[in-house]
């Protein structure tokens, strides 16, 4: 079976090479048959990648340990859900996932544009085929996911327990979908440059792909944050880790791209800027994949020291040099069709927002690569920590939110001072009111930055509400519809605009959550024995009793032993509730720990328990102290090392029971963080807005049908003998 997988990869490589060659030859020689053949080769590539993935997945499901990948990352006792997803926990598997997603996306976009963009599409096909070919070459040449073992082990290593979290398993495909999705607009931008067709056609054809990619990438980042918050046991959602930064950078530049293409569509400006942005986004997406996999920067994510770092760097360098040369050679064709009339115009604010987003990305880039920079400059490797990132990004984020409030209501070309006043009177009043309420009712006054953020956020929300209100009341005046109908029709008719507003609202809700939770977080680390009580952020928390369970891990991650605690928390109003933080213990395959000891001395992961709330979260984690069991475990290793599995299970149960009856003081961490739920809610709102904006509108469908019809008409006319 593994042979079939490898064959799929090899055939895929040949297909990609053929697709690139055929499209290029076809468009150069004006031979439409080759162009069509090149496009169909991409469909064929998608089928081959699906085949390869199916082979690998079936190996994971059957726990066929003759596959090196399966033996490494899965085991018979890994739950089925995690067997399916173990593929992308490994380097080779995630390369295959990249290639699969790329071929599927490319097929979709090439199918949708098969009757339009005759000039650009063949070049885009070639670019996509080359990118896919690179990933296939990596797999065929260095990291074959279908590598086999001559002596398959009886049991696999199992999936890293830290990765056994539902969010973690959806997070990589989401991120990859985002990364891969941005290669579509990149490919079409390159096609547009090569053919000197630098109007807005390539943007119209691919902007929905860019939006979908942006949505997936953003969702992936949010899921990563959620995983960090609920699984990593430190209680934060963002740590400015190199790999987190690597996913944020293309997202930021992609956000800038989504905004600035509107300027090109409406006013024919910012053409150079747009192609640069999409090139930068794609390169950063490649860099993101490279950072996760190369381990060049120290990171908790560096799950594998890589063998393919050099190849990646060479490819990235080729993409950068090639695209830059192409842009420079096409500069004469990228002239603006219009000039900026006034700084008080929408295009000026789009430009400002772009500059702030790119500046944010630059700051993050500098901080992420600082260890390399400092080593090159001073000779010693040094790094900057989260405080540095926070200090530099906070002011930029504030400016960004302020621009978000102003941009949408400023008209194209220019706005008069009277118009500005009309647009901002109500929102500014709303923001001032928020300021007063926040000062009077909350402790926000102690943190000026958080206070400023909440004022700006109120401004943005007021602007969004005002836009909806004005649009809907205009519809009501024209059509006489009742409010709900007027609103829904307003959104349905202008999905992109109002979806965008909803996304804005979501982003500021998210920022409010970040501001609240980072400015007013209260954290306590304490060591407690059963019966002890401590205070944290207005809660009285009592450690009631210890727990020890076998095979009953709540999260379904397959951990055999779980030690935990029952905590009773009481808030200011006297309301009580129970929290059950625990810690899962996974057996190690290390024989030196003994037959019994290996169950206690393997990996362990925190299973935190969170009381979610709109106002604040109470987050708890436990680190039980099982050192008192060391003596008995040694004894048990000696006595029951060769006993049957049933006896050993009884011994383990007895040891666990011993801990439950007489636990040593355990270490607890309790975090009370206000508004942290708003981060997830805000993320959900952004997702909703993005879906509304990306959903095909009836008008667009109509346009497509018309263009198909006219294309057919044109063909028929040409086919007619003259």
């Amino acid at each position: 079976m593994a042979g079939i997988g490898s064959a799929c990869l090899f055939a895929g490589l040949l297909t990609a090479v053929y697709a690139a060659g055929a499209s290029l030859y076809g468009v150069r020689a004006g031979n439409a048959a080759f162009v069509i053949s090149g496009r169909r080769a991409i469909y064929c590539l998608a089928a081959l990648m699906l085949g390869a993935t199916a082979v690998l997945q079936s190996a994971f499901l059957r726990s066929d340990f003759s596959y090196a990948l399966v033996a490494e990352g899965s085991s018979t006792d890994t739950p089925t859900f995690y067997k399916v997803t173990a593929m992308w926990a490994t380097q080779d598997g995630s390369l295959l996932l990249w290639a699969l997603l790329l071929s599927l996306f490319a097929s979709a976009v090439l199918f949708l544009t098969r009757r339009s963009l005759r000039g650009i599409a063949p070049y885009a096909t070639a670019v996509l085929a080359i990118v896919a070919g690179f990933f296939l070459l990596l797999m065929v040449g260095w990291e074959n996911p279908f590598g086999t073992l001559a002596n398959p082990p009886a049991e696999g290593g199992g999936l890293n327990p830290l990765l056994r979290h539902p969010a973690m398993m959806i997070h990589p495909p989401m991120l990859y979908t985002g990364y891969v999705g941005f290669s579509i607009p990149f490919a079409f931008a390159v096609g547009a440059l090569i053919t000197r067709n630098t109007g807005a056609d390539w943007i119209r054809a691919t902007r929905r792909f860019a939006l979908v990619a942006w949505t997936f990438l953003g969702t992936g980042i949010m899921l990563g944050a959620l995983w960090s918050y609920t699984e990593l046991g430190w209680g934060g959602y963002w740590a400015w880790d190199p790999v987190e930064n690597a996913s944020l950078m293309p997202w930021l530049v992609g956000t800038a791209f989504l905004h600035s293409i509107m300027v090109q569509e409406k006013r024919g400006m910012l053409k150079i800027w747009n192609v640069c942005l999409i090139i930068a986004t794609f390169v950063l997406a490649l860099l993101g994949t490279f950072l996760v996999r190369s381990g060049i920067l120290d990171s908790i994510h560096a799950f594998g020291a890589s063998t393919i770092g050099v190849q990646f760097l060479v490819f990235i360098a080729l993409v950068v040099v090639g695209s830059t040369a192409l842009v420079i050679s096409r500069l004469p064709y990228l002239r603006s069709e219009a000039r900026l009339d006034s700084l008080l115009s929408r295009e000026a604010f789009f430009l400002l927002n772009n500059l702030v987003l790119v500046a944010l990305c630059l700051v993050i880039f500098w901080g992420t690569f600082f260890p390399l920079i400092s080593e090159a400059v001073t000779g010693t490797e040094a790094s900057v920590g989260p405080p540095w990132f926070n200090r530099l990004t906070t002011p930029l984020a504030l400016v960004l939110v302020l621009l978000m409030a102003i941009g949408p209501v400023v008209s194209w070309r220019r706005i008069s001072p009277a118009g500005l006043l009309r647009a901002f009177m109500w929102p500014v009043l709303g923001a001032l009111l928020t300021l007063l309420v926040a000062l009077a009712l909350t402790p926000a006054g102690e943190r000026p930055l958080a206070l400023l953020m909440s004022c700006f956020a109120a401004l943005v929300l007021a602007v969004v509400v005002q836009e909806f209100w004005r649009g809907a009341s205009a519809r009501r005046t024209i059509s006489g519809d009742p409010w709900p109908r007027a609103l829904s029709r307003l959104v349905a008719r202008n999905r992109r605009r109002y979806g965008g507003y909803i996304a804005h609202a979501g982003i500021v809700v998210l920022f409010l959550g970040v501001a609240g939770s980072s400015a007013f977080l209260e954290q306590r680390d304490v060591r407690l024995s059963p019966g002890d009580t401590f205070k944290s952020g207005g809660y009285d928390i009592t450690y009631e009793r210890a727990t020890a369970t076998l095979g009953e891990d709540r999260a379904g991650s397959g951990a055999p032993i779980t030690f935990g605690a029952v905590l009773r928390a009481r808030d200011e109003d006297g309301k009580t509730f129970t929290l059950r933080p625990s810690r899962n213990f996974y057996p190690t395959q290390d024989a030196s720990k003994g037959a019994i000891g290996r169950f206690f001395e393997g990996e362990a992961t925190s299973e935190v328990d969170v009381r979610w709330g709109l106002r604040r979260d109470l987050w708890t984690a436990i680190r039980p102290d099982i050192s008192a069991l060391e003596g008995p475990i040694r004894e048990a290793n000696a006595k029951f090392g060769n006993s049957s599995g049933d006896v050993q299970a009884l011994v383990i149960a007895a040891l666990a029971e011993r801990y439950r009856r007489d636990p040593a003081p355990a270490t607890f961490r309790a975090i009370v963080s206000p508004l942290v739920s708003w981060i997830w809610i805000g993320g959900g709102i952004v997702l909703l807005g993005a879906l509304i904006a990306a959903w095909p509108s009836p008008e667009a469908r109509l346009r497509r049908v018309r263009s198909l019809y006219s294309a057919r008409l044109g063909r028929d006319l040409r086919a007619e003998p003259s």
Binding site: N160, L162, G233, W234, F303, G304, G367, S374, V384, T605
Partner: protein, 137 residues
């Protein structure tokens, strides 16, 4: 003002802002950075008050709890020098004796006093090819 002068002015303002940002970036990053070092470097030449990012292996049989503080010893990879560390805060799940860790802090009276929550554990050995090979060491 005539339009071309206005544009020049805008360009100058934009470039000025970019330069200020770049300056801030460079200045703050070099002044706020922590130096990465190994135990032998810290032992040989640690300046008091300077913060370091210490990388090395947690020595066997060295981990002890002292109330809320965690005490352990970090060794060079080749085992030449060792530094005692005093740490407070959350301990990452994969933290074990014999594993490679990174921790930030400064030297005080021969002990490396770590910043709260700065402990990072490098990848769990079980899941990487390279370290599977090295497990015997």
């Amino acid at each position: 003002m005539d339009p071309s002068r206005k544009r020049t002015l805008r360009l100058v303002v934009a470039l000025g802002a970019a330069l200020i940002l770049a300056g801030a970036l460079i200045y703050t990053s070099f002044s706020a950075s922590t130096e990465a070092s190994t135990p032998s470097q810290v032992v040989a030449s640690a300046e008091p008050g300077r913060s370091y990012e210490l990388t090395g292996k947690v020595a066997r049989q060295s981990v002890a709890r002292d109330d809320d503080r965690l005490r352990f010893v970090i060794r060079d990879r080749d085992g030449k020098a060792a530094v005692p560390v005093s740490y407070e805060g959350v301990v990452p799940d994969p933290f074990r004796e014999g594993r490679e860790v990174i921790v930030s802090g400064e030297m005080k009276n021969g002990t490396f006093v770590a910043e709260r929550d700065s402990l990072v554990t490098k990848c769990p050995s079980k899941f990487t090819k390279e370290q599977t090979v090295n497990r015997g060491t």
